[in-house]
């Protein structure tokens, strides 16, 4: 019995196959991490683009109201209403393969009131009068989708990418009331 066990243990045949399997798995894990990194880079790029665009627009329009304010240059056609904005952002995130529940956008006015949006809500905001500060924040939750199959420490973990922009409202709602006058 003992000598048979010794024989089995000392037998080298098939050891290269085991080495090959372990080595290949390690290389595969590395490649998968690289693939995931590329995807996350693209997601971060998208978050940056969306927050920049929304910040610029919310500044020009002085918020997202259901109707364009009186006298808005170009009228209703030039004004991006909340429904158009919501559809645009949702579509962009969906095109990147980001699930509806995995992103949100937060617009905060100078008064500290926060408006939180996601794929199911329409981004209506308050009115941000001339020269008020507006903060736009886009949050994106992501996972190491392929890597977590090979690396247990990443399994089920969610990370967040945040992109913040600060701007100033350029739209005057209350024409009868100017500072310094």
């Amino acid at each position: 019995m003992k000598s048979r066990l010794c024989k089995v243990l000392k037998n080298d045949s098939g050891s290269i196959a085991i080495e090959a399997v372990i080595g290949t798995l390690m290389i595969l894990a590395c490649l998968v991490v690289i693939m995931d990194l590329l995807v996350i880079t693209w997601k971060s790029n998208l978050t940056a683009q969306v927050s920049t665009k929304v910040a610029r627009q919310v500044g020009i329009q002085g918020g997202y109201r259901l109707k364009a304010p009186n006298g808005f240059p170009g009228g209703e056609n030039a004004y991006t209403n909340p429904r158009e904005l919501g559809a645009m952002i949702t579509e962009q995130f969906r095109a990147m393969g980001i699930a509806d529940g995995n992103w949100e956008m937060i617009i905060t006015g100078e008064d500290g009131r926060q408006y939180v949006y996601n794929a199911t809500s329409t981004p209506v905001t308050g009115e941000y009068d001339y020269q008020q500060i507006i903060k736009v924040e886009v949050r994106l939750r992501y996972q190491w989708e392929m890597s977590q199959m090979m690396l247990p420490m990443l399994r089920g973990r969610t990370y967040t990418l945040t992109s913040k922009r600060t701007t100033i409202s350029e739209w005057k709602y209350d024409y009868d009331n100017w500072a310094n006058e």
Partner: protein, 201 residues
Amino acid sequence: MTTGRMNNRMKSTLQNEDGMMTIWYVIIGLMLALMISGMLTSFMKFRAINEMQGTLDVAGVAALRFAVDENAFRDGELKVNESVVITKFRSLIELSELERAIKANSLHITARVINVKQGQDLSHVPGGSGLLSSKDRAQVYLVSEAYMTFTTLSELDKIIMTRLNYYDFFQSRASEISINGTNADGEYEVVVRSVSRLVLR
């Protein structure tokens, strides 16, 4: 006799192929690890550039618009208070809380305002720069540059970008921003340039 045995042993060691695969895997594994490290560095750099560019662009236009002299504007004149532009620009960048997104070791931002008056000779400016338009209009520019440094492996620090080339359409010549960084010190430098403009229409 002893030398002969030694020679034989050495020969058999050199000809032995046990563990050959392991050596290959270790080499490939090391290369891939270096590659991942390099890609992580590029990701950080890419993200920092994106975030910085977006923040500078948004803050630049907002700061220019904020500093417009309302009284001169009613008279159809474009006038901005330069110190107000710079102060507001910096405060907007601070409010954007970039530290968390870019995780830079050091960050330094420079900004300057350039006025282009109505009737100014712009014949030296090439088309496509956005400076020329069919109508002669007064414009104000805010040019800002952000310098950031990050930590990386010194092996990866050899591929740094030490200068940023661009066409300076204000002076009508090719220009560059050089970074006084050193190779292989484990710190890499990134520079982002942004130009915002406000046009009187």
